[in-house]
C-alpha cells in the first residue's frame, strides 16, 4: 500500500464542488508537487489529507490508516502527517524553542531535555540554531517559515504537506525556504507540496499534478508535463506562469 492513498475523493463546500473524483497515490520518499490556478482545489486537497477538512465521498489512507473514518484517531494520525502553512502560524507567545518542543512534550510525552535536543537538531537542519531563544515576531518571514518547518519536523512525520509556503514571502526570502525543502527532499522525506514555484517543482518533484476545477487534470513527471502539456488548460496555465 502506498504511504498516502487517495481514492475517488469528492468534496463540496455548500453547492460548490471543490474536489471531484480525486485519486492519487504517493509512495514513501516521493515528492509530489500540486500546481494549478487558485480555486482549483489544491489547498483543500492538502488539508483533507491530514483531516483538517472533511470529505464527502471516497477514502484517504495515510500509512494504512483511514483519515476520514468515524473512529479515526486524528491525534495519532496527525503525528504522522506534518503540515506547513502559507502564513507560518507559529505560536506568537512562545519562543522558537518552545514552539518546537511543545508538541513532542505534550503529545508524544518526550522528556523536556530530549525535546530540547530535538529542537536543536531540527533547527540545525533549517539553519536557525542561533534563533532558538527568539520570539516569532523577532524573525523575518523566511526565518519564521523555516521555524515552522522545523516545528513540523520535530514530530518526525512520515509525510509532510506544504501549503504554498513561499507565497506570503518577499521574493528575496523565498530562496532560503526552498533550500530547506530541497534538503528535505534529498533526505528522502515524503512530501506533497502545493506551490507556485514552477522552477522548484520542476527541479525537485518526482511527479507534478495539475489541478483544474477540482479535478486532477493532468499528472506526470515534471519534464514531460511542462514540456508537452496534453490539455489546453495546462498549456495556458504554464504560459501564464512562465
Amino acid at each position: 500500500m502506498s504511504l498516502v492513498q487517495i481514492e475517488k475523493v469528492y468534496k463540496k463546500f455548500g453547492d460548490l464542488q471543490v474536489l471531484e473524483d480525486i485519486s492519487l497515490n504517493v509512495e514513501e520518499g516521493q515528492q509530489i508537487a500540486i500546481i494549478g490556478r487558485s480555486g482549483s482545489g489544491k489547498s483543500t486537497l492538502l488539508r483533507c489529507i491530514n483531516g483538517l477538512e472533511p470529505i464527502n465521498q471516497g477514502n484517504i489512507h495515510v500509512d494504512g490508516d483511514l483519515v476520514n473514518g468515524q473512529k479515526t484517531n486524528l491525534k495519532l494520525l496527525r503525528q504522522k502527517v506534518g503540515i506547513v502553512f502559507q502564513s507560518y502560524n507559529l505560536f506568537p507567545h512562545l519562543t522558537v524553542e518552545r514552539n518546537i518542543t511543545l508538541a513532542p512534550t505534550v503529545v508524544k510525552k518526550f522528556a523536556l531535555a530530549d525535546a530540547r535536543a530535538l529542537a536543536h537538531e531540527v533547527l540545525r537542519q533549517v539553519g536557525l540554531e542561533d534563533k532558538i531563544d527568539s520570539y516569532p515576531d523577532q524573525l523575518s518571514g523566511g526565518q519564521q517559515q523555516r521555524v515552522a518547518i522545523a516545528r513540523s519536523l520535530a514530530m518526525q512525520p512520515k509525510v509532510m504537506l506544504f501549503d504554498e509556503i513561499t507565497s506570503a514571502l518577499d521574493p528575496e526570502l523565498i530562496g532560503e525556504v526552498l533550500k530547506v525543502l530541497e534538503y528535505l527532499a534529498q533526505q528522502g522525506m515524503t512530501m506533497i507540496l502545493v506551490t507556485h514555484e514552477m522552477g522548484f517543482a520542476q527541479r525537485v518533484a518526482d511527479r507534478v499534478v495539475f489541478m483544474h476545477e477540482g479535478r486532477i487534470w493532468e499528472s506526470g513527471p515534471p519534464e514531460q508535463l511542462f514540456a508537452s502539456p496534453e490539455t489546453p488548460e495546462l498549456d495556458s496555465f504554464i504560459r501564464a506562469i512562465l
Partner: protein
C-alpha cells in the same frame, strides 16, 4: 419620631458597611470567574448539546434584569422550601450574573484567536484541551484582561441591588441611615463617593491595560 443629624458616626457606619459590598463583590468575582470559565469551555467544546445549554444559560441571564434574578433566588427558593438568607441569595444571584457575562466575554476572546492558530496546533496532534491550554488561552487571557476588569465595575455597582432583598451592604445601610436622619442628599452623596472610589481604580486600570495591549499588539 426619632430623628438625628447625619454625622461622623454615620459616615463611619457607611465605611464599615462598605466591607460587605467589597465581600459580596469578591465572592461574585471568584464564583462568577469559576463558573464563567466552566461555561466558556462548555460553549466552545465541539459538543453541540453542551454549546446549546451553555448558550441558553448565558442568554437567559443576560436577557433578564439582575434585580429579577435576585427576586427569583430569594423568593423562588423560599417557595420551593429552601429558606435562603439574604446573604446566600445575593451571592448566588450575583455569581450567576457574573458568570454569564464573563463566559460571554471570554468566549469572544478565545474565538478572537485566529483560526490558523487552532489549525496549526491541532495539526501537531494536540487535543482540544491541550491546544486550549498551551496555545489558545495564553493568547486569549492577554486580550481578555481589559474587558474583564471593566466588567467587574458592573458587578460592584450591581451589588447595590441586593439591598432590595434586605442584604445590608452599602446602599441598604445608607437607606437605613436616611430613615433616621432624613438627609438623603448628604447620605447618598457619601455612598456615591465610596462607590466611585471602589470603581474608579478598576476603570482606570482597565483603560491602562487596554492602551498597553494596543501598543504591544501594534508591534
Amino acid at each position: 419620631m426619632l430623628l438625628r443629624d447625619f454625622g461622623h458616626g454615620d459616615i463611619l457606619l457607611l465605611i464599615y458597611a462598605t466591607r460587605w459590598t467589597i465581600a459580596l463583590s469578591l465572592i461574585a468575582f471568584a464564583g462568577g470567574g469559576l463558573f464563567g470559565f466552566a461555561f466558556t469551555i462548555l460553549r466552545i467544546l465541539p459538543i453541540r448539546l453542551l454549546n446549546y445549554l451553555s448558550s441558553a444559560y448565558i442568554q437567559i441571564i443576560q436577557g433578564t434584569p439582575l434585580l429579577l434574578q435576585l427576586f427569583v433566588v430569594f423568593f423562588g427558593l423560599a417557595i420551593l422550601g429552601w429558606d435562603v438568607s439574604a446573604w446566600t441569595a445575593a451571592a448566588v444571584a450575583l455569581i450567576a450574573y457574573t458568570s454569564a457575562f464573563l463566559a460571554e466575554i471570554w468566549r469572544g476572546c478565545i474565538q478572537a484567536i485566529p483560526k490558523p492558530q487552532w489549525e496549526a496546533s491541532s495539526s501537531l496532534g494536540l487535543g482540544i484541551f491541550q491546544l486550549l491550554w498551551y496555545v489558545i488561552m495564553p493568547q486569549a487571557i492577554k486580550i481578555s484582561i481589559p474587558p474583564t476588569v471593566g466588567f467587574l465595575v458592573q458587578v460592584i455597582k450591581g451589588t447595590a441591588l441586593t439591598s432590595v432583598i434586605g442584604f445590608v451592604e452599602l446602599t441598604r445601610t445608607a437607606q437605613l441611615i436616611n430613615n433616621v436622619t432624613l438627609e438623603p442628599f448628604a447620605v447618598y452623596s457619601v455612598i456615591a463617593v465610596i462607590y466611585f472610589s471602589l470603581c474608579f481604580p478598576l476603570t482606570s486600570l482597565s483603560r491602562r491595560l487596554e492602551r498597553r495591549l494596543n501598543v504591544s499588539s501594534a508591534n
